[in-house]
């Protein structure tokens, strides 16, 4: 059980403020009267715009977090980090090859990793950052791509790394090389593109375009649905999209309300 007071005291960039409890760090800063320009983007943990450096009451340790995904706590002393100026090195995705040393060519610093695990401890996404740096060092592009996937490029790891490693550009490079060169291409997509050369697809679409709304509506209502294996029971609890009941808006059925 947590007992939360109604108001808490926090220190923003060294100044004391009383703010209502239960707010994220972003909201607490705003509550105190700041209009945020830097340090807020998606406000939902997807963009990495809001790295925060903080201390807790009675502790000497520095922590890192995403301000939009972390509750302000009583006694917190914090500062927003507007951005981390991490270097990325340009490359041509058509020219890079999926060779074992490709990442080292662009980011030789990776070899200087001292395995201190600071990056992993700092990562707000809970990614095993050190592991993906180690796999990069070993030339394992696939593992680097998979391990780094949830990265939102906040740069917190790089700001703490004693070896000045550029973590998120390393992950980005690995993911693009992996997806472009190591994952097989979709043959179904290639077939569709071939088919589209023949104009057959366009003719079908054009036909639709020339139907009256009544005819279109009739076709729409008669659509057949792809069923999902094992999930085609009509009103079972595990009704899945794409079964006969079609979860789109039906506002058009409300005829008398003209738009």
């Amino acid at each position: 059980m947590i007992d939360q007071p109604r108001e808490i005291n926090i220190q923003l960039m060294g100044k004391d403020y009383k703010v209502s409890s239960g707010l994220t760090i972003i909201a607490a800063i705003e509550y105190a009267g700041y209009k945020l320009v830097r340090g807020a983007g998606c406000r939902a943990g997807f963009c990495g715009a809001c790295p925060t450096l903080y201390r807790r009451a009675g502790s000497h340790k520095l922590y890192t977090a995403l301000a939009c995904q972390t509750l302000a706590e009583d006694g917190m002393c914090l500062v927003q980090v507007p951005f981390v100026p991490v270097v990325r090195r340009p490359y041509d995705i058509e020219e890079v090859a999926p060779s074992a040393n490709i990442i080292l060519q662009y980011y030789p610093e990776v070899a200087a990793c001292v395995s201190c695990n600071t990056c992993t401890r700092a990562c707000p996404q809970g990614i095993s950052v050190m592991d993906y740096i180690q796999t990069a060092l070993r030339g394992d592009i696939e593992q680097t791509a998979l391990l780094s996937f949830d990265c939102i490029s906040c740069g917190i790891c790089s700001s703490r790394c004693p070896a000045d490693i550029k973590h998120y550009p390393v992950g980005q490079l690995a993911r693009r090389i992996y997806s472009k060169y190591l994952l097989p291409r979709s043959s179904q997509l290639a077939d569709r593109l071939d088919e589209m050369e023949t104009e057959q697809c366009e003719v079908e679409v054009e036909t639709m375009m020339h139907l009256s709304t009544e005819e279109l509506r009739a076709r729409y209502e008669q659509r057949s649905f792809e069923t999902v294996a094992g999930r085609d029971q009509k009103h079972s609890a595990i009704q899945k999209w794409g079964t006969a009941v079609d979860p789109v808006d039906y506002r058009d059925e409300v005829e008398e309300v003209a738009y």
């Binding site: 239960g22 707010l23 807020a40 980005q172 043959s187 997509l189 659509r223 009103h235 506002r251």
Partner: protein, 549 residues
């Protein structure tokens, strides 16, 4: 306030009721509504049907169009600059200016370059950082008909029926016909889509689709698309100016759009961009909080592009239809409005009221489902009120693991699970509280299939553009549309820029718009574009002195 595993005690009592009815509900659901029932529910409870919340635009090219009050206020607000602004010092002289560094803007920049424009003659300007956008937040996926049992024509029918047959046919054609080649482009750029062992995409169904054609990258699809596009724009050396929103478009003496006025958000210094062609890719308007709804949108989604385009004479369409997503988070307060993907209901979680009763078929259409939640909370008074005064209903998420096996939530909804965990709620063990949230701007600026508006020199793409989705967009079609129309607008703008020679820059249209406002009897002192929403604490604002220092 005492919190027990994330919830206050009184909510715990309600959760007990949810747990009590769960065994029965696991066995049986309730049937969907009839069309008549849906109709009655929608007209009474859906926010878009509240005529008292709308009004007709008093002036401008779409005069008379009935839209939500908040948006009408914005369109009828005073410009931030006047025609006396000095336009002689040009800070950036470019071929193609792109306003908005989200998905649509970045795609447009890359294709303007492929079309032959020197990357140094392209400029992306954006409000926050490059990529801080709705695009980054998309979780579910992107549609494209590329499997053998699917076809662009089938996709067409889904899109147009989903949009209540109000979509512009030529735009839908462009959308579905370009889709496969967009995915192929992404594949060649190295985007990490979920694939099977043979390299074919793992494709899921989505609301309103008759085939499984939702391509995804876990529940970080938009993030993956956006970060690769940004990486590619960096490799290409396309210049980007961040924290510099456009606050007004510029026209030349021949009535063509020819650039924009930018505002440095930190120094408040303005800068002038002269451009042969301008592409507006400013995204949506969730942060206007229509009817006080919370939103899923990013911090900069304040509909600026609509305001800018309207003042130069661009027409608007379908802005009366705003998409509310039924399941936005209602508790904890820190998450209010954030999107809980449809997938949670798709996988079996049911919406139940404070007594643990299932009150609506879980997969009604989005607007019907939303209306049912609103009725439960505000007419039947069977919702759960949060300590902050927001009401919501339970979404019984633990059912997902019970139906599909333990670990399902963590594996297939990692972003969702992580978000709740951060705020002390375990959604595998306890239900989550939800209420409809403002999600998407269905309409926007009118444009043709090349992204060209009715004003020469002005192109649009992405959420700011209207007509593609008619009155209602289906999930997965907006990630697609910003790619399709971003590409088309980039190409068209590049070709236009090659022949155009922008004349003398002018802000006369701003004076003209002010005159129209006066003639319409509108006399207000609020200004637009809004740029950022106001979230500062009441107490701080009340004692704020507006002193220049």
């Amino acid at each position: 306030m005492k919190l027990i595993r994330g919830y206050p005690e009184y909510m715990r009592k309600s959760i007990k009721q949810v747990e009590r009815t769960r065994p029965n509900r696991l066995e049986q659901s309730i049937p969907p509504m009839s069309l008549d029932e849906r109709k009655a529910l929608l007209t009474k409870f859906h926010p878009d049907f509240r005529e008292d919340q709308k009004r007709a635009l008093a002036c401008g090219p779409s005069k008379g169009m009935r839209i939500h009050r908040e948006l009408a206020d914005l369109l009828e607000a005073q410009p931030l600059v006047t025609s006396t602004l000095d336009l002689n010092q040009i800070d950036f002289d470019v071929d193609v200016l792109i306003i908005g560094g989200g998905g649509a803007g970045t795609v447009a920049a890359l294709w303007a370059m492929k079309e032959g424009i020197d990357p140094k003659r392209i400029l992306i300007v954006t409000k926050l950082r490059h990529g801080d956008s709705n695009s980054t937040m998309a979780q579910g996926g992107i549609q494209a008909a590329d499997r053998p049992n699917d076809s662009p024509a089938t996709h067409y029918l889904d899109v147009i029926g989903g949009g209540h047959f109000t979509n512009r046919a030529d735009l839908v054609k462009a959308l579905v016909m370009d889709a496969p080649s967009i995915i192929a482009w992404h594949e060649s750029l190295g985007m990490m889509y979920d694939k099977d062992a043979d390299g074919n995409f793992v494709e899921n169904p989505g609301g309103g689709t008759s085939r499984n054609r939702m391509h995804s990258a876990k529940d970080y699809t938009g993030l993956e698309i956006m970060r690769v596009l940004r990486d590619e724009a960096r490799n290409a050396g396309i210049p980007v100016v961040e924290f510099a929103p456009a606050i007004e478009l510029l026209m030349d003496d021949r009535g063509r759009v020819a650039g924009a006025v930018l505002l440095n958000l930190e120094t408040k210094k303005y800068r002038i961009v002269k451009a042969q062609a301008t592409i507006l890719t400013t995204g949506g308007l969730g942060r206007l909080h229509m009817q006080q709804f919370p939103t899923t949108n990013h911090y900069g989604a304040t509909g600026d592009g609509l305001v800018l385009a309207y003042r130069v004479g661009a027409e608007l369409i379908d802005l009366d239809a705003i998409q509310y997503h039924p399941t936005g988070a209602a508790f904890p307060a820190q998450m209010a409005g954030l999107l809980i993907t449809e997938k949670v209901r798709g996988m079996g979680a049911q919406p139940v009221n404070k007594d643990g009763e299932l009150f609506v078929f879980p997969l009604e259409p989005r607007d019907v489902e939303s209306s049912a939640f609103i009725r439960e909370c505000y007419e039947r008074e069977l919702g759960i009120e949060t300590p902050q005064g927001m009401r919501g209903v339970w979404l019984d998420s633990p059912m997902v693991d019970m139906l599909h096996g333990p670990g399902t939530i963590e594996a297939s909804l990692p972003a969702m699970f992580r978000m709740y965990q951060r705020f002390g709620v375990d959604m595998t063990r306890d239900p989550i509280l939800v209420f409809p949230t403002l999600h998407y701007q269905n309409g926007g600026v009118v444009a043709d299939e090349r992204g060209a508006t009715n004003v020469p020199g002005l192109y649009v793409a992405g959420e700011v553009m209207g007509g593609i989705h008619g009155k209602n967009r289906l999930m997965g079609n907006s990630l697609l549309d910003f790619n399709v129309f971003g590409r088309r607008a980039g190409i068209a703008a590049a070709n236009y820029a090659r022949q155009a020679i922008a004349g003398k820059l002018s802000l006369a249209h701003v004076e003209e718009y002010k005159r129209q406002l006066r003639d319409a009897g509108i006399d207000n002192d609020h200004a637009a574009p809004q740029i950022l929403p106001e979230y500062r604490g009441q107490e701080a604002l009340e004692r704020m002195l507006d002193i220049p220092i």
